[in-house]
Amino acid sequence: MSTPQFFHALKILEDVCIGCSHCVRVCPTEALRIRDGKSHLYPDRCVDCGECYRVCPVNAIINNHDDFDKIFRYKHRIALVPSIVLGQFKDGIEPEHIFAVLKGLGFTDICEGEEGAKLLAELINQRVSDRSVEHPVISSFCPAVVRLIQVNFPGLTPNIMPIKAPLDFSAMYIRQKYRDMGIPDSEVGIFYITPCAAKIVAIVSPVADDSSGINGFINLDFIYNKVMKVIKSTGGVKNIVPDRKSNLDGSQMLWALTGGEASCVKGRSLSIDGMKNVIDFLEKLENEEVDNVDFLELRMCDQSCAGGILAPSNRFLVVERMQKRALRVDADSLTFGIDEYREYLKANAKTEDIRPRTSLRYDVDVSKAIAKMEKVRRLMCFLPGIDCSVCGAPTCQAHAEDVVQGRSVISNCIFLQKKLENQRLLDSKHALRMIEKIWGKDRFDKNCTKKGAKNEDS
């Protein structure tokens, strides 16, 4: 699947965006700006964490997914279901009901996302015990973390284990299984139900250049709504003929939750979730302030995938539910079809080594970068250091960098404008035009339909 280098599933709907700048200020890589009254993305800085999606007050940021009808292009339509999907539904609505409803919606087969987690745990332990590789070994499970490291912590990229995620293992397994049944690839459509934007981007433009054989992806919240609608309209699960039960053991079921990988690793491992926590820890790691840790499980979202941006149910209730279910697994009822494919999966488990992503903060050429950095430091003498974002950039530092890279002018800073107006160096009308250029022409107009205003929602 050929895709542009910086494909992002998250999309800003310009017609809906009100240019409030909430997203600009939460982005961990300062990838967003306000221009012409709308939010604007620098694609090479985006790591697909979805924080912007979370804070947008008008839902102007969407996660682009495939049209559900796309599945009908295939004769064999397989839903690749990570266990986090099953955890969204209340007790009583069990995996076997959900699988049945999914089949009713059009899928012909189900494959669970974490069937390959056992094998993956083995491979991780092999790597951890290989002292010749960089330690601590960092899990590649969360694509947003991988990208964050590539952009903001390039020195740590050698620590990331270049291995595919459980969903890739499941996809490879099921595809090979169908091939062995004599069914051509073109008739098999595998569709991943995704809890977030990062997993989509990992599928479409994987960190390394491997195709994982997944044909499309569908947002978790969309599927949840569809499934709940069916259950409600049939009068509850008692009227649904259950499909087969979940085939995951406890540790596979919990793999995508905080601690799920770390608990399977022999050695000293830490689980860290939440963007701020992950960033703080990576900084410590970079400063070599962390000793003797063998494995790091890092997840961008609070409570890991239970806190994914597309997961509709409360993350703590989901975690509680899944932990209880994991204890109830009947080990005797599990089948291990995937084990026949062990060697095949092992042979295809690796991705290419993960390289830093040159985010070009200053320049590729060191002497040009020095000149630019010095210019930024000179410009910072003039900026107030308040990070108010009126200039359209998240921080004064980001604004200074934009000026040096030719993406903005220093006088977009409202503090400077006030000072210059006072010194009669800047005409008031000109200053107003500058603000309009950033925030939109209509920004100064009275508008009673704004959020919080008199006639909001009319």
Binding site: Y362, D363, M373, R377
Partner: protein, 140 residues
Amino acid sequence: MRLDYKVEGGDFARAGWASSQVKKVLKQLGVDQNIVKRVVVALYEAEVNIVAHAYRGEIGVDIDAEKIVMRLEDEGPGIPDVSLAMQRGYSTATPQVREMGFGAGMGLPNINTNADIFNIETKVGVGTTLEIIINFKSNQ
């Protein structure tokens, strides 16, 4: 590009501040990670030496496209026997300093290993000046 830092003797809480700042700058400039590591180790050891042994000191860092030049000048006791000080394990750290985890006697040798050029000028009773140069395109 010129960066300047002041170091106070005995201020262990802030020891490592200069090396942390320089590291940020080099990272943003896109300098190779292995070179950055060497710079940080050398600068950190030199900075801690000022904190552990001297009264106060100043660090001047000059970065250009080819190399980084670090000059650390302190007011302090000076080093009576430089070749002795350069021996691995030899340390003149006080018990208080050792209690804090420093004073293993590896500071100067570590700087020597990581630097391309390393010069020491010292005068007993006055102070010590270190000059550390690391090239960005190094073969070490």
